[in-house]
Amino acid sequence: MQSANVLLKKIVRSSVLPFAAQHGMKKDLFPLSRSLSLSLCLKQDNSCNPSEKLDLDAWKKVMKSGLQEEVSETVPERKELSSLAAAREILGMWRLAGRSVPENISEEQLKTFMDCPSKSAQKKYLKYLYLKELYKKNDKRKIEEKKERRLETQEQASKTDETKRNSFMYVWDNSMERAHSWRVAQSMTFGQPLVFDMSYEKEMSVREVANTVRQIVLGEGSNRRSADPFHIHFCNFQDDSLYHKEFIKHYREAWGKLLITVTDQCYTEVFPKDKLIYLTADSPKVMKTFDHDKIYIVGSMVDKSIKTGVSLARAKRLGLETAALPLEKYLLWNSGAKNLTLDQMMHILLTLKDTGDWKKALEFVPKRKYCGFVSKPVHELKKTLSLINTLKLGKRQEEVRKQFAKNYSKKLTQK
């Protein structure tokens, strides 16, 4: 509305009133100029009607004429296209129509696109590729900008021409890396094991496996940098599995030099059964303290289509003890699933190992998932929660939240 107003004002100022009248302005928007423009418009109408002068179908001629030569070229070669090429062409048209479709698509991606079981799956996959492309482009642009800026500052520095002296050589990254490796190597012999159960490949889609591996790589990185790292075990790891392929994509040649233990054996074969604890959000048991003598198992699984009880079933089958993080005990849960990403798990376990402080460890739970830490009595927290929600949401939702808070307190009292 406002922009339209501004626009109209501009038009009036530039004294093209007849145009403004044709433009079909809203009466109440612009009461002052109305009478003025109307009278002008009437005169205009009599003198010359713009539509008479305009050839409205001129665009058709342009569209048809400009192509006459091209047509003769394209028509004969319109033979049967291979299905891949046809799909590529359709994608091109979708892009022209303004859908979220990537500009470039590889043969492999095109095949996955064609293998999608439904139209909505195709759409989703294309959008994913499109966003990926967009992010990549943006990153590239940022890097280039940075480069330019650096060059500029270098030029300025060379003008002043002042050499700095420093007692340390610039080998920071390298020496840090060496120190970390040293620590992890130590943990390989003396450290507490942490097992990643790599037996969930069948339960996951390709993208979920890729996400899983990404999360593990992040987790491994933070483990390496920690003061007292775990000795990471990948159990049930099959060579040439999807996991393996994804890991190689991430680590490249470093995969062979990683300071972790990778085995195709099950954890029950590697460790004594009574020391194992399977961590799963579905577990009825809640972890009270971090035990330095136990071996914790984390299921390497990302489940976007929530499959409950998969890892609990695995632990049940092997007769292992299970545990869940005490999220409800320490956090006033807001929304979101209780299963955390693997790198968050790694952060939490590392912090617990170092400090044993739940509050510090659970800082790594994403902030959006909880409202705050449970420090006050529960009923007070409930009050603030409902207050927050009445402020944030409508009335109807408040009732839902109340119900939730009620259930929540019930759960607490049960434990």
Binding site: Q22, K26, P50, L67, W94, P284
Partner: protein, 465 residues
């Protein structure tokens, strides 16, 4: 921006464009608004001319938007022109443009063109159900019933679900028409409704009724009615089909429940093989039961009462007439706690058989198994809709069977004050049904909100005199 009311000259467009905050998207935004305000087509043309003159070309998305405007206003000749232009310009078109072409042309006298376009779409992708809908409706309107039914069958073969609108159109346009073949096809549509447990809405129901009554020499009469709880039609005194499954369906459902719901991908997810085996043995030794009760669900009926008291009331209420009861629960019910008193539990165990599953097992799966194993007369009590278990079933046929069986065998209890009022399980099956000389068709009111678990209570009874 408000689109202008009259065609503008190039300079005027230019001026408008410059005053727009992001000139590079000006045409796009303007076209969107034209579609929204249903602007006169000449205005859009003048903008296209302006774009063509200044760029020498018009982008695909602008053409599609112009096309949308033409379709909205039913400008057939323009649609044809746009089609010709697009055909020259682009080797293939995408689905959005095809949708518009098919929709626009099928409503015009050039509807056969829409059919050729449908063929074109088929070459590259599966047409949407609205594509078929437009073509079928066009064919019906022009009394090409054979063609319409051919398209309809083709659509079903592609697993597309026709809208009720299309089905209704078949009935609307077949009124007063003769032909055994046509009659058979329309009966086929009614049977499609039956198989997919779809219910016509009120206006559709009227179309069906009028069609039946218009069949020359058919002597059909339709009446609107409500079916009694006994399942008898008050108009023709015909007894509706009961909700029992056939022997084959019943066995099929039972096997599916065991395979998909209890075992699933991993037996350990819901129970454990040992526990399930123990339960199977337990059930087989005591078969058959008359009523299977979900103990934990029933024990939460009244929140103010102790859990075991609720359960006690339910068992007492159901234990009349020597009914054999099975109560399913979890082991934690046996521990003496504030909600579960040992003496009351003991007393109940005299009146009913109890099975206690592990605390982390799912007792619902056992409930289904025990009920199905006991036979067709056996009912079960829970307020749960069992949606998650239905979702575990792997195909839609079995899911329908499950719903049907559930309707006939689930007793859910509503509490009024302190009295148990049983909501009886349906005795009759709520689907389109026929005996040859009668048809019974359940329908829903046009604006009635119906939950998926609810079935309509209103019926159309059609009989041949």
């Amino acid at each position: 921006v408000q689109p202008p009311e009259k065609p503008l000259q190039t300079e005027e467009w230019n001026r408008l464009r410059e005053s727009f905050q992001s000139p590079e998207r000006f045409e796009e935004v303007m076209f969107n608004n034209m579609v929204r305000c249903n602007s006169p087509i000449d205005v859009a043309k003048s903008l296209l001319t302006h774009v063509a003159n200044s760029n020498g070309d018009i982008a695909y998305n602008l053409l599609v938007k112009y096309l949308a405007l033409c379709v909205q206003q039913g400008q057939t000749s323009e649609i044809r022109d746009v089609y010709d232009i697009m055909k020259i310009r682009f080797r293939i078109l995408e689905s959005g443009a095809y949708n518009l072409f098919i929709r626009g042309l099928s409503n015009s006298d050039q509807w056969r063109m829409a059919l050729t376009l449908l063929e074109e779409v088929k070459k590259n992708m599966i047409p949407s159900r609205t594509n078929y809908e437009s073509c079928i409706k066009a064919a019906i309107r022009h009394q090409e019933m054979n063609l319409a039914f051919e398209l309809y069958r083709e659509m079903l073969a592609k697993d597309l679900v026709p809208t009720l609108d299309v089905l209704q159109a078949f009935f609307d346009f077949s009124r007063d028409m003769k032909g055994a073949e046509l009659q058979k096809e329309l009966f086929g549509i009614l049977l499609y409704l039956r198989e997919n447990q779809m219910y016509p809405h009120k206006t559709f129901m009227w179309s069906i009724k009028l069609w039946f009554e218009s069949i020359p020499g058919g002597n059909w009469r339709g009446h609107l009615t409500n079916i009694k709880d006994s399942g008898q039609c008050p108009v023709c005194n015909h007894q509706l089909e009961d909700s029992d499954l056939t022997e084959e369906e019943y066995n099929n459902l039972r096997e599916r429940i065991i395979r998909d719901v209890i075992h699933g991908t991993d037996t350990f997810r819901k129970t454990s093989p040992q526990e399930f085996e123990a339960f199977q043995k337990f059930v087989e030794n005591r078969l058959p039961f008359d009523i299977v009760i979900d103990g934990l669900n029933v024990s939460h009926i009244k929140p103010r009462k102790m859990h075991c008291e609720n359960l006690f009331d339910a068992v007492n209420c159901l234990a009349k007439e020597n009914a054999r009861l099975l109560v399913l629960g979890r082991k934690h019910m046996l521990g003496n706690s504030s909600n579960w008193k040992r003496e009351i539990m003991k007393e109940m165990q005299n009146k009913a058989d109890f099975f206690f599953a592990e605390n982390i097992s799912e007792d619902d799966a056992f409930l289904l198994y025990a009920t199905l194993q006991s036979g067709k007369h056996c009912k079960f009590v829970t307020r749960d809709f069992l949606r998650d278990h239905k979702a575990c079933l792997s195909n839609s046929v079995t899911r329908h069977l499950f719903r049907k069986w559930q309707r006939g065998h689930q007793i859910s209890k509503k509490m009024f004050l302190s009295v148990f009022i049983q909501q009886p399980a349906f005795r009759y099956d709520c689907v389109v049904q026929t005996t040859g000389d009668t048809w019974h068709i359940p329908y829903k009111d046009t604006f009635e909100e119906k939950y998926s678990y609810q079935v309509p209570r209103k019926w159309l009874c059609i009989q041949q005199k």
